[in-house]
């Protein structure tokens, strides 16, 4: 399992599971085109894992399998 520890490492996916000792209250932000974005911060021993990759990644994987 690849785990990333460096400052600035990021994940992008359709579903990410998280665990941490502290999780801040969820904030609602309004993005461009009035999309509502929810955001929060995980603190202390935070761990995140991709459970469902982005559709483009999934399609790429399916094509590879074919």
């Amino acid at each position: 399992m690849k785990i990333y520890y460096e400052l600035g490492d990021a994940l992008r996916a359709d579903r990410i599971a998280i665990e941490a000792l502290d999780i801040d209250k969820v904030l609602i932000k309004e993005g461009s085109n009035r999309h509502r974005i929810q955001s929060t911060t995980l603190r202390r021993s935070a761990f995140c894992v991709i459970e469902l990759p982005l559709r483009a990644v999934r399609e790429k994987t399916t094509n590879k399998l074919k």
Binding site: M1, R15, A17, I18, E19, F47, V49, E51, L52, R58, E59, T61, T62, L65
Partner: protein, 162 residues
Amino acid sequence: MAQETFSIDMPRLPSAEHKWLAFKESTGKLSQYSGSIGFPDEDIRQMVKIAQVLATTPYAWSPATELIGNLAKENAFLKKEVEDIKRKLADVERRIPEEKVIVLREIPREKVKEEINQLFSSGRRLYYSDIAQELQLNLQLVVDICRELQESGEIEVDENIL
């Protein structure tokens, strides 16, 4: 005939500085409250004495009656505010998400593998977080064990979601 006079030993009336709700302008907004903290206990006791005196005299003493009338009005206003606050509090409590506590188990790795296999044997499609929650295990451990089971061919990624 000499006119009968009555003298009543009236108790001290509450301070005129007390902010009467009835005399305040209404803001018309539900979110703003009067700021009244109600009458001090001592003033309530004095007003009870006034009421007792009035009950025993044949003549109504106009300012005292007015005072008690205002007390009744203020009580009604405060009751309304209390009902309003109770309603809003109930609303806020409804919106607070329920906090569910799961006590994580610390069990040997082999036992974890066994339990995860058993969970999958039902044919369900499960995410890492589903397994972690159902088996009350640490998420990172679940991911690690699932990788091992995948490598050994005991479980596989559902192609249908790809």
